[in-house]
């Protein structure tokens, strides 16, 4: 019926359409371009935006979100979502700080414990979703409040302050390796590891398979539920690392640490082109998305716009990104459909 209209389209793709499609296929590149344009725009108004100290600050903070976003990307690629990451980050940050202030464990052991705790919390999510078959949105909405409740249970009203921590512990937040902030190095390393897992390993390919078509994946003999469990466990692990970083960065930690951070983490993924429909997206995209959000936050401060705008802008960014995703998906389907027919 619409054969004519459909096949006529790709014959003469307008420049704009081709541009949109190319940009859509390479979300990472287009995000970089947008960031450079935005950076240039802000830098014209406020040159200090491009100073080394400012860039260090932006990238350090963005690294924490990026680490959590890498884990979240894994989960989203399997067509699930983990809303509990912010509680995991908060709980890990507090527990590590508490252990260190009480001097129960040394610094490396405490950090390992924190990351392990993140892994366990992620495995609980995975168990509830994959084994008990609770939809991810419900399961992680539940654990979001359970983990936060446990945080309150442990912390009560108190907070661990910077002075109670071992001296030098929080220096890691400002440390650099060859001039690059340590946090950025950590984020890049984690990004690379998870990126390689996704691209090169059987598990990684299965993650994409499960996300793009769960039924087909099952028929192919992929143990879908095991893959989903693994994705949630890894997401918890990443959130654990992010929690440790959060604690180091902020120093003073109470039970409300990282409240609301899940929006940034999910937004980073969505902006980075990790399709919420599952089955596509890269961790590089998620990392760039985190950097993009960090840039926006910083730009707001520099051009002296109220921080109150921040949350509204995050919302707009999420909405814009999904809308673009949907448009591109529709265009792609149309052009693929036409090509296979022609």
């Amino acid at each position: 019926m619409s054969e004519l209209a459909v096949s006529a389209r790709p014959a003469q793709p307008t420049l704009l359409r081709r541009l949109i499609l190319t940009a859509g296929r390479h979300r990472e590149v287009s995000l970089l371009v947008v960031m450079i344009l935005l950076g240039a725009l802000v830098a014209v108004r406020a040159p200090q935006f491009l100073s080394v100290s400012n860039l260090t600050q932006v990238t350090t903070l963005a690294s924490i979100i990026a680490v959590a976003a890498v884990g979240q990307a894994l989960v989203i690629i399997t067509r699930n979502v983990d809303l509990s990451v912010e509680s995991t980050i908060g709980l890990v940050a507090f527990v590590v700080a508490e252990i260190l202030s009480a001097r129960t464990l040394g610094v490396p052991a405490a950090i390992a414990f924190g990351i392990g705790l993140g892994l366990v919390l992620g495995m609980i999510n995975g168990f509830v979703v994959a084994v008990m078959r609770v939809p991810a949105i419900v399961a992680t909405l539940g654990t979001l409040s359970i983990y936060r409740g446990v945080d309150f249970l442990l912390a009560g009203g108190k907070q661990v302050t910077l002075t109670e921590l071992p001296s030098g512990y929080t220096d890691a937040a400002t440390a650099t390796i060859l001039g690059i902030p340590l946090f950025v190095v950590i984020a890049v390393v984690i990004l690379a590891i998870v990126g390689i897992i996704l691209r090169q390993t059987r598990f990684g390919r299965q993650v994409y398979a499960v996300g793009s078509n769960p039924e087909a994946a099952t028929i192919l003999g992929i143990r879908t539920r095991l893959v989903v469990f693994g994705a949630f466990a890894l997401c918890g692990l990443c959130a654990g690392v992010a929690g440790v970083m959060w604690g180091i960065y902020f120093g003073t930690i109470n039970a409300t640490a990282a409240t609301g951070a899940v929006l940034q983490v999910v937004a980073a993924c969505v902006v980075g082109g990790v399709a919420i429909f599952g089955g596509s997206g890269t961790v590089v995209g998620a990392g760039l998305g985190a950097l993009f959000l960090g840039f926006i936050q910083n730009a707001l401060i520099i051009i002296r716009l109220s921080q109150f705008w921040l949350e509204a802008i995050y919302g707009l960014v999420i909405l814009t990104a999904v809308a673009i995703d949907a448009v591109i998906l529709r265009r792609l389907r149309r052009s693929i459909g036409a090509r296979s027919r022609g």
């Binding site: 419900v138 409740g149 919302g315």
Partner: protein, 369 residues
């Protein structure tokens, strides 16, 4: 209304095979009776009674009229929002943004009132804001075809951000006494707080629409199978759009109620409310995948959560720790039906297996003999 409300859920858990068994094996009749007793609403009513008993044994004031009105008032906004949310989830969508709409409504109300507008003008304006916010959700989720989970996650941030932009960190108080009386006071002669009227009317109207009209039937159809509903002439997109508008409007109304009850309007009003709203809806037996649920169940779940929160408070358990209980409840309310379903099909299989000669049919393939 009772009979009508039970119809859709009853048809979902079809007792027909058990009845067939009942004529033959005595165990089959047992299954049928258990199946009927295990109706979610009945179960929930027992849980509610148990909690009331628990609360009464915890503290002598629990059964007082004053405590009853406190207990209802403490969660009335959540209950009001849960009703349209139930319809949205039945239709197979979700709206995470309602808690931010509560904040935006409170902010706009406070801002307008502080700017000198009377409440008679401010409240309608707030409701318009709510409807517009819901319209935005609806347009993006239905016309643009985006998943409502992400859309409303985006507007969750957007509405909260706008609330902060409108009012900033300040709180507005000093509302006229009648407004506060609406929030604090009870209907003369009863222990029911005034906002309960909104809840009750909304429950009756939405219950009637969902279980007694063609609109409700189309809603269930859309939630169960979008494609089939569309082919049989249900205008799914338009219906969902209207549901989102309704949810936004009601959330704004809940924001007004909250401002009246707290005698203060703040941008952070309603933070974290979505969890409780979704818990009430799912605890009420509404299927998270859509297509099944009753308003009666949601109303029962509302009372259950109100009593639970009150009992925990009487036991001096901090509100932050109550969130553990709510989170567990949320997960359990989805796990139990799944487990029950698996148990039932396992039982059916075992019964069938006993009668059939050592079957060659694997457990996965339900070949009809």
């Amino acid at each position: 209304m009772d009979d009508r409300t039970s119809a859709p859920a009853g048809s979902g858990t079809d007792p027909a095979p058990a009845d067939v068994d009942a004529s033959g094996a005595p165990r089959g009749r047992g299954v049928a009776i258990v199946g009927r007793l295990a109706r979610w609403e009945v179960l929930l009513a027992f849980v509610l009674l148990g909690l009331v008993w628990l609360g009464a044994s915890l503290s002598p004031v629990f059964l007082s009229a004053r405590n009853f009105s406190n207990l209802i008032a403490a969660v009335i906004e959540v209950g009001i929002i849960a009703l349209p949310m139930a319809l949205i989830i039945v239709a197979g969508e979700i709206d995470l943004s309602v808690e931010s709409m509560v904040g935006l409504a409170a902010s706009v109300l406070g801002f307008l009132y502080a700017a000198g507008y009377p409440l008679e003008m401010a409240i309608p304006a707030v409701l318009v804001v709510g409807a517009l916010g819901g319209l935005l959700n609806g347009v993006l989720a239905t016309m643009a075809g985006l998943p409502s989970l992400v859309v409303t996650l985006g507007t969750l941030a957007l509405f909260r951000g706008l609330a902060l932009v409108v009012l900033g960190p300040r709180g507005i108080s000093g509302f006229p006494p009648e407004f506060s009386a609406f929030g604090f006071g009870t209907i003369p002669g009863t222990p029911l707080p005034w906002p309960f009227v909104i809840f009750a009317v909304l429950a009756l109207v939405l219950g009637f629409v969902l279980h007694g009209t063609w609109i409700g039937r189309q809603l269930f159809a859309a939630g169960k199978n979008v494609g089939a509903a569309r082919y049989s002439g249900v205008r799914v997109a338009r219906m969902k759009l209207l549901l989102f508008v309704l949810a936004g409007l009601i959330a704004a109304l809940a924001g007004v109620v909250l401002a009246a009850r707290l005698a203060s309007a703040r941008a952070d009003a309603g933070e974290g409310m979505t969890l409780t709203v979704v818990t009430i809806v799912l605890l009420g037996g509404v299927n998270i995948f859509g297509g099944r649920g009753t308003i009666l169940g949601v109303v029962l779940a509302f009372f259950t959560l109100a009593v639970l929160g009150n009992a925990l408070r009487l036991a001096n358990i901090a509100s932050e720790i109550q969130s553990i209980a709510i989170g567990v409840l949320l997960i359990i309310s989805v796990v139990i039906p799944t487990l029950a379903h698996q148990f039932k099909s396992a039982l059916d299989r075992a019964l069938r297996g006993r009668r059939a000669p050592a079957g060659r049919v694997g457990p996965g393939e339900m070949a009809n003999p």
